[in-house]
Amino acid sequence: MKLNSAHKANNLSFLENSGQMGMLIREMDWDNSSLGPIENWPVSLRTTLAIILHSSYPMFLFWGDELICFYNDAYRPSLGKEGKHPAIGKRGKEVWPEIWDFIGPLIKEVVTTAKPVSYSDQLVPFYRNGRMEDIYWTFCYSAAFDDNGNVNGVVVTCTETTETVITKRELQESERRLRTMIAQAPVSIAIFQGKDHVTELANSLALQMWGRREDEVLGQPILEAMPELKSQGIKELLDDVYNTGKTFSTSEFPVQIMRKGNLNMAYLNFSFEPLLDLSGNIEGIMALGIEVTDQVISRKGIEESEKKFRLLADSLPQFVWTANPEGNLNYFNQSVFEFSGLSQDQLINKGWLQMVHPGDRKNNFRAWEDSIATGKDFLLEHRFRRHDGEYRWQLSRAKPQYNDEGIIQMWVGSSTDIQEQKVFLDELEKQVQERTAELLELYESLKKSEQRYHLMVEEVQDYAILYLNPEGIVVNWNTGAEKIKGYRADEIIGKNFSNFYTEDDRKSGLPKRLLGLAAKKGKALQEGWRVRKDGTLFWASVVITAVHNEINEVIGYSKVTHDLTVKKESDDALKEKQAELELKNIELQKMNKELQSFAYISSHDLQEPLRKIQTFASRIIEKDHDTLSENGKYLFKRMQLSAERMQSLIDDLLAYSRTHNLEGDFERINLNLIIEQVKQDLSEELLQKNAIIQADNTCMVNIIPFQFKQLFYNLISNSLKFAKPDEPVHITIKNEYVPGNLLEGEYFQENTKYCHITFSDNGIGFEQKYSEKIFELFQRLYGKTEYPGTGIGLAIIKRIVENHHGVITAQGELGKGATFHIYLPVAD
């Protein structure tokens, strides 16, 4: 430690030859600092400073509790021009306020742990050269010890790397740009390194071309990554470029590449170029390429199709040829050569014309020139000379071929031998002409027949016959139409037929409806008012018939109109008469009814005084019987009989007038039921005459019950009245159904069924000549004293039967009885 003590004795020897910073330390007044005068600085500080100040590497020291700053000359430039310098002797925190947040903790860590902390290319921006600067550092903070071996400061060794960092960054940026450029290049780019051609770089187009992912090729020898290339000469090409340094380039190079599991043929344009290092040695190969598979395949397709076309054309017996847009023939198929015996050279351009018959040449040339000029298809019949000199007819045609822009690229033509057809055609033409003549004749006769028909239609006077097109426009007009409707043909043809309709009908769309109906049903019939040209109306019966073509489409309508005005008028008159008649009828019925009620009321009222006469008479006979003379008594009796007779007359008249009353409803009832009721009413009389009524063959009838009761009452009463005095009365009643056509008599209707009721007795009968007379009112065949009666009974019967729309007839023979037949129509 002699050396140390010598230095200590010398005091400031550690600052000798220690540069400007040493000088600065020495000149500074340290007496008032926390370190005190230099002479008193501890050995550890002196030693540390000696190392720092004598180093040519930038160094910095923070010492003591206040972290007093020291640095050497090598460090000084890092502080810049107008910066922190001179900072020696200042406290660390004062010198580095802007980065104390960063270095403070570092210093503290080193002081605490005594372990060094280092950073490389760390950005530590601080104030220098008059501004904040971004400064990169590579530095190490290590512990500085005091005389006792305790950590009492931090030594900072550092290098400013700002420039290196910036250069590196620029380099990276430039490489990034390059890679981007390569990646985005429109061509495939790849770089292979070394003799094994390890793939260093491949842009996406290259990967696409290879059918590989980036991770399958990068860092791999390309021939390992794409083993299918090994047998295709690619290795030899790469080796050659690597060894010789000569660029290889090729186009449409066929190569089979495995893509998506399939070995595909690809065509590539590419070049291999050597990459040289700085010393000019070959270090790798750059490959640039474009895939042209599609173009090659399509071109090959075209080539193939052209080859096929030629094969096809050559195998055709027809002549096939092409021409350029200018009309110069440039290709002929084999058939042309064989036929003409001429060669390609003789035929091209205008040479082919020598094959054409001299008589056809001019025409041919003109037609061809015309097609070339206009682009219209070429079509011509002309004769070609065969190699043996014979001319044969040909049908030639040519079509222009356009490209995508619509410009003619070429003409393709063909010629077909039509010699046979031509001969045949001539024969055919002859036949056709003959047939045409026949047809013409037929047509003429048809036309004549049609004309006759037209004339007939036109001449029809009573009917308007017209033809309408599907829209209802009048197309045809006959004389009848002109006569009925008043228009001349030239006035109405071309106009709509709705002109004939009244305004109301037009508004309601009747014309259209009728056409629609005819189209649907084939025919439309209608009667109605139509309008003449002069505006007057006529009553028309119209038939519109749809006319169809062979495929059943409506092509028009025929319309036949008949003027029925006269008929209509007479019909109307008839209807009016009928209405009048009906009215009269109703009036008559009303009068009849009034008459009936008059008859009823008057006969009713007549009874009143008559009854009184009878009563008075009976009073006189009874009371004054003894005072009356015999003659007086006789006359009284006569008077009473007269009065009685008058009473029965009135009763019967009442009954007769009542039979008019049709208000009684019809009922379906068994005839026997009615007969039974009558039998009950007449029971006493029947008993008295010992009468038998046989009515077993009866059935249901549709009648007005009370009237039929009256009817049988009268008939039975009649039979009782006209019975033979010595014989019991026997009456038979039966009924059955008979069809009208089996009955004789004009009043029976053939199609109606009748209920036939037969009533017969065994009485005195009558002569057949009276069979009708007996039904008349007040008609009697016998004297009043013999057979009393009013002569109304049978009239009532007849009326009742007539009320039932039936018929009654009587059959009689004097002394043998009478039979009455009643026929009632049966409604189903």
Binding site: E608, L610, R611, T615, S618, E622, L654
Partner: protein, 145 residues
Amino acid sequence: MDFQILLADDDEDDCMFFREALEELSLCATLKTVNNGVELMNFLENNLLNLPQMLFLDLNMPRKSGAECLSEIKQNVKFKHLPVIIYSTSSNIDVMDQLYGEGAHYYIRKPADFSNLKSVIRRTIDLILQKDVLPSTREEFVIQP
């Protein structure tokens, strides 16, 4: 037993016949006659406490017809139980049906013979007195001479 018979008829002859017939029948009956419908209704209203035992009612009367009277009588609580015998010339079945429906007890068609008249009146009075106010059936309705 004394009883009172009321006859409503506008015909004097018929009233006389009826009175004579009743007299000859020697019944203990007193006869009161009115000559039209209005008079009839007034009489009934005025004799509510002393109503007759039966009423013989003609149909064809002036001012108020017999049919109208019958309808009024049968609709009035005060004398709806009074037996009404129709006494008419008419033999119209429809009219008979209608009157039966309205509640008339019997129907007499005025006979032409006086002895018949007597017998009809006799039988009717007997029927009314026997059956009192019980109505007849349709079959019994018309009393034959």
